[in-house]
């Protein structure tokens, strides 16, 4: 992600103040998000469902 892209996303998220006062923190957060996205490598099938978010079976 380029610095320009980071700034565009941060402004779209309303983070103008953070961008102005804590630019390094915003850049570090963007890098962290990129790293996390890259860490998910196992393929998903189109029918793999996301819900419910927690699938705890009914207690016996």
């Amino acid at each position: 992600m380029t610095e320009q892209e980071i700034e565009a996303i941060a402004r779209a998220a309303g983070l103008d103040k953070a961008l102005k006062e804590f630019h390094d923190d915003v850049s570090a957060a963007a890098k962290q998000a990129e790293d996390l996205r890259r860490a998910l490598v196992k393929p998903l099938g189109p029918a793999d469902e996301p819900w419910p978010p927690m699938r705890i079976p009914d207690p016996k």
Binding site: K17, A29, A33, L40, V41, D48, P50, P53, I56, P59
Partner: protein, 463 residues
């Protein structure tokens, strides 16, 4: 004879019943120890000795009159400062909520009061249960009683440090990515993340709704069972709460492990995230000891630990961003730097990333459930390294991903971390046991068998 500050809750209850110890006597002993040692440990954010004395006197009166409410009556409990205690500020260790006085007790605190327990005080945490140990906050970070230059783990750092220092026998922690089990591991105590939904989170400040758990932190496995039974139960006020059959969770603590099947997840610490050699050897020694005690130990393979950790972090960052976005936009300078950096990450993850992580989460749950078709309990490393120095920011940051606790926040299975040795530097090493949904009893049974056989729970830091 055991000094009062090292007594377990079970031993205290026994002495109260025999009238060889009174709640006031115990409270005074603990308050004196806290006054003497907490300035070096920083476990407490808030302590009201006069309220503690008043509550102890009331408990003593009731017990003396034969109105004993149960095993926790008159026993002090420390409360992590993201959990509400009525009339007291829930600061979340943050400037942002420094005046956030709670109007009601959290569900777990209400249950503790019903059981007669004494709320001892509010305990240090990482800011909003998410930042690291920070020196730019209104309160100092807790320190590790085994070596005060070292990190006590977090985010329930005051809970772990206070137990290890002998300030209280019981504490509450919360766990979204290992925050009960990390300080349990670093401080050499017992930390249990219950099954998702078993303990109400109502009145605990959220970090990530689908990952958050409240649970017991103690110095013994029996006390973890005791505290779990006191705080568990269905609560319609918590959307994630489920009605599990009630305890006692500690019914089989003395049954040993003979006949139990223990699945050892070696790849977590051998190849996915290679552990410090001392940690690897200590966890292998746990497996060997359980086998010697009669368990059938076999190797189990789960999804890659790094993949499971990434699922946890994407869900956590996405949900935490939803909670903190307004403050991050308006008051970014009021967070500690480490918290701000972590919380901002959620702004750079999209809806698709979050949904993908949820889809992968269900795959992870299925994989762990499949493993439990073949074994009764999973054995894994907890922290991949011994505790690091608290003033080494890079080392501290490295400890958070280098652990095997997040998989069970992703899946919701119960998981317990406890001490399994001491490093060459004299700092605790740790192991983790995880069980089937709702089967804390078997996790506690295995942990109790290990505790008896290994004997680490008798070791305390020299303070």
């Amino acid at each position: 004879m055991t000094e009062l500050h090292w007594l377990s809750a079970s031993e205290i209850a026994d002495r109260f019943a025999k009238r060889s110890l009174s709640p006031v006597e115990l409270a005074e002993a603990l308050l004196a120890r806290i006054a003497k040692l907490d300035p070096q440990i920083n476990a407490f954010i808030r302590l009201d000795p006069e309220q503690v004395r008043a509550d102890a006197t009331a408990a003593e009166r009731e017990i003396t009159a034969g109105q004993r409410r149960g095993p926790l009556h008159g026993i002090p409990v420390g409360i992590k400062d993201i959990i509400d205690v009525r009339g007291v500020a829930t600061t979340c260790h943050s400037k942002i909520l420094v005046d956030n006085v709670a109007r009601a007790d959290a569900a777990v605190v209400a249950k503790l009061r019903e059981a007669g327990a004494i709320v001892l005080g509010k305990l240090s945490t990482h800011e909003f249960a998410f930042g690291g140990p920070s020196f730019d906050l209104p309160f100092p970070p807790a320190r590790n009683p085994w070596n005060r230059d070292h990190h006590p783990g977090g985010s329930s750092s005051g809970s772990g440090a206070g137990l290890a220092a002998g300030f209280f026998p019981l504490a509450l922690g919360t766990d979204t990515a290992g925050s009960i089990r990390n300080p349990a591991s670093c401080c050499g105590i017992v930390g249990l993340k219950p099954t998702y939904g078993r303990v109400s989170r109502r009145g605990a400040f959220p970090l990530a709704f689908t990952l958050d758990h409240v649970g017991p932190m103690t110095r013994s496995v029996a006390d973890a069972a005791l505290l779990l039974d006191a705080i568990a139960g269905h609560d319609p006020g918590d959307p994630g709460s489920r009605a599990f059959p009630p305890g006692p969770s500690g019914a089989s603590l003395k049954d040993g492990v003979r006949g139990l099947r223990v699945g050892f997840v070696r790849h977590f610490h051998e190849t996915d995230m290679p552990a410090d050699p001392e940690v690897g050897a200590a966890v292998e020694a746990v497996a060997a000891l359980l086998a010697k005690e009669g368990a059938a130990v076999s190797t189990v393979v789960l999804p890659n630990l790094k993949e499971l950790a990434a699922i946890n972090r994407i869900l956590l960052h996405g949900e935490a961003w939803s909670i903190h976005a307004r403050w991050l936009r308006e008051r970014p300078g009021d967070y500690a730097q480490s918290t701000r950096r972590r919380l901002l990450t959620g702004a750079f993850l999209g809806a698709g990333d979050y949904v993908d992580a949820q889809r992968r989460r269900l795959q992870a749950i299925a994989a762990v459930e499949s493993a439990f078709q073949k074994v009764d309990v999973l054995l894994t490393a907890s922290s991949m390294d011994p505790p690091c120095r608290i003033d080494d920011a890079e080392a501290v940051a490295r400890t958070y991903p280098r652990q095997a606790r997040t998989p069970f926040n992703v899946t919701g299975h119960p998981a317990l971390a406890m001490m399994c040795g001491l490093s060459a530097g004299g700092l605790p090493l740790s192991v983790q046991f995880a069980g089937r949904f709702g089967d804390e009893a078997t996790v506690l049974r295995v942990a109790a068998a290990y505790e008896r056989a290994a004997g680490w729970s008798d070791r305390h830091p020299a303070l």
